[in-house]
Point group: C2
Chain length 317, copies 2
């Protein structure tokens, strides 16, 4: 049972702008309807981020957990796993944390803006075959549109039978929005104050950066397979935990991302910061994909995270 005081949502960040000079068109607003005059010019907003906040009646920990999704996904990735198990949102709520789930700029409920007028480029759409390989579920060339003929890595902890369900979560993404997204995360931290940031993949890179620009707010970063990191360290105040799944070093892209993250964590440690790396295959846990919070051992991994948060003193016992 989760006793909630409130479920509320809000938007942070965003810049107001006014579009002018775009052609007015005659367009149908509904199938079968008569065309009507559509004027796309006028006032709009771009760069906002959506946040859904779950507040406990009696939180059992001093700091809220912020869940930041990765590229091409939304906050939905923290909810039910594709095979129908409770995800990390429920897990952290059941542990008594206040939890805030965001949809980053141009993802999900945050909305997105037109191109080329506001965004410079068109978006990217991730195919299932790309995700299958990029998320290290199966080797390159092992995808098949027929689920029965897909060959996953073995052992494999991602629920491969739910791959098509998982793909329903994919949303388009843009490549030129990093600064604007980071500004919205900074606005979120300014609003929330001291917190724990749990971030996946692209979100991990934003979390690393957030700990540099808002060290007083970000008391701990838990990065699940971060895909990027800042080039320099100005603060070592934030505690960092990084988790890595299986087959990272054998993957051209992930070995490069991991090197970037390792270098960043190394710089924080060298500056006297408190860091921890959990390399699951090194510990004998084989088969984790890039989607650690969806893998079959997702609850066990969440428990590892909580143990570390308690150890560094930002979660209750």
């Amino acid at each position: 049972m989760i006793g909630l005081r409130s479920i509320d949502s809000f938007y942070v960040g965003g810049t107001d702008l006014t579009l002018a000079g775009l052609p007015v068109a005659e367009r149908r607003m509904a199938a079968g309807a008569a065309p009507r005059r559509i004027d796309p010019n006028g006032a709009c907003v771009t760069g906002q981020m959506y946040v859904q906040a779950y507040r406990q009646v009696a939180p059992r920990h001093p700091l809220p957990v912020l869940l930041w999704h990765g590229g091409g996904l939304t906050g939905a990735c923290w909810e039910t796993t594709p095979d129908g198990r409770p995800g990390w949102l429920m897990w952290f709520l059941e542990q008594g944390f206040d939890v805030l789930v965001s949809d980053a700029v141009e993802r999900g409920r945050a909305g997105w803006s037109r191109w080329p007028e506001i965004y410079a480029e068109p978006p990217f759409f991730r195919t299932k075959n790309e995700a299958w390989e990029a998320f290290r579920i199966g080797p390159a060339g092992s995808w098949n549109d027929d689920p029965a003929r897909r060959i996953a890595h073995a052992p494999m902890l991602f629920p491969t039978e739910a791959m098509d369900a998982f793909a329903r979560q994919f949303v388009p993404r843009w490549a030129d929005r990093e600064a604007i997204t980071m500004a919205a995360y900074a606005a979120l931290l300014d609003r929330v104050g001291p917190c724990i940031v749990v971030a996946h993949s692209q979100g991990g890179g934003f979390a690393f950066e957030a700990a540099q620009i808002r060290p007083e707010a970000v008391r701990a970063v838990v990065a699940l397979e971060p895909s990027g990191g800042p080039a320099a360290v100005s603060s070592a105040a934030t505690r960092h935990l990084v988790l890595w799944g299986d087959r990272v070093w054998g993957h051209p892209e992930w070995s490069r991302y991991r090197s970037v993250a390792d270098a960043h964590i190394g710089r924080i440690a060298a500056a006297g910061g408190i860091v921890r790396m959990i390399d699951l295959p090194e510990e004998g846990v084989a088969g984790n994909s890039h989607m650690l919070m969806m893998d079959r051992n997702s609850d066990a991994l969440a428990a590892r995270v909580l143990a570390w948060l308690a150890e560094i003193g930002v979660a209750g016992a």
Copy 2:
């Protein structure tokens, strides 16, 4: 306090397809990164809908409430109001209902698909000035980018000071997706079973249609200013409540939408169905905008809805 057994999410609907023949491009995946080969071809899904389900430990009513948003918006419209008050999601949860909030096809966390390869046309982006006038917050021509210089209708129950906050909820929409969206709503009803559908604007049209194609599931429709309706009635089994705000008949578009809805409700009544219309200005309640669930009297309107649900026997006392 809300005692929840679970918060889970799932996707319904959607069609798998495979894209082929699209040009492979060299594109930057992140600012400053080297261009890499991006192949957009492969397997994807289109037409899915996102649903977030809040289940009570001890529901006090026999049927769940489904909240269906309107055009250019997402499920976020049912959460906190733009001026920061609890919205209808919290209100119905506090009354003890299980509540399911959806993001319809191509909105919010449901994701959207590329055009012209999958969708035939580009989307529509609603400007603030269009919304100001179309949602009957201010008269035509009264918009100003400067909040201090906007002239709203008077009296006005929409929290006009939060208009710029409200616009952060706007998402693009397409005009040619109605059949696919309706199919996803039907899939949702097939999964959920007997329920109460509370729907706004474009969602109201989908709810009217849903009561025709799934009368055994949709026990009651509460339509807030529905913007459409089916051309014929085959079932009068579902109870219907329709709410209308102020200045509908004076507005060219809304008077037309209202005529369509009135005709539909009239056909249900003629077929022996149980219908109720609440015309707020006729009752002496002046100033409601199109955004009834965000207006300053949103709690009072929700209480009217609950009273009607109890009266027709689909909610507990």
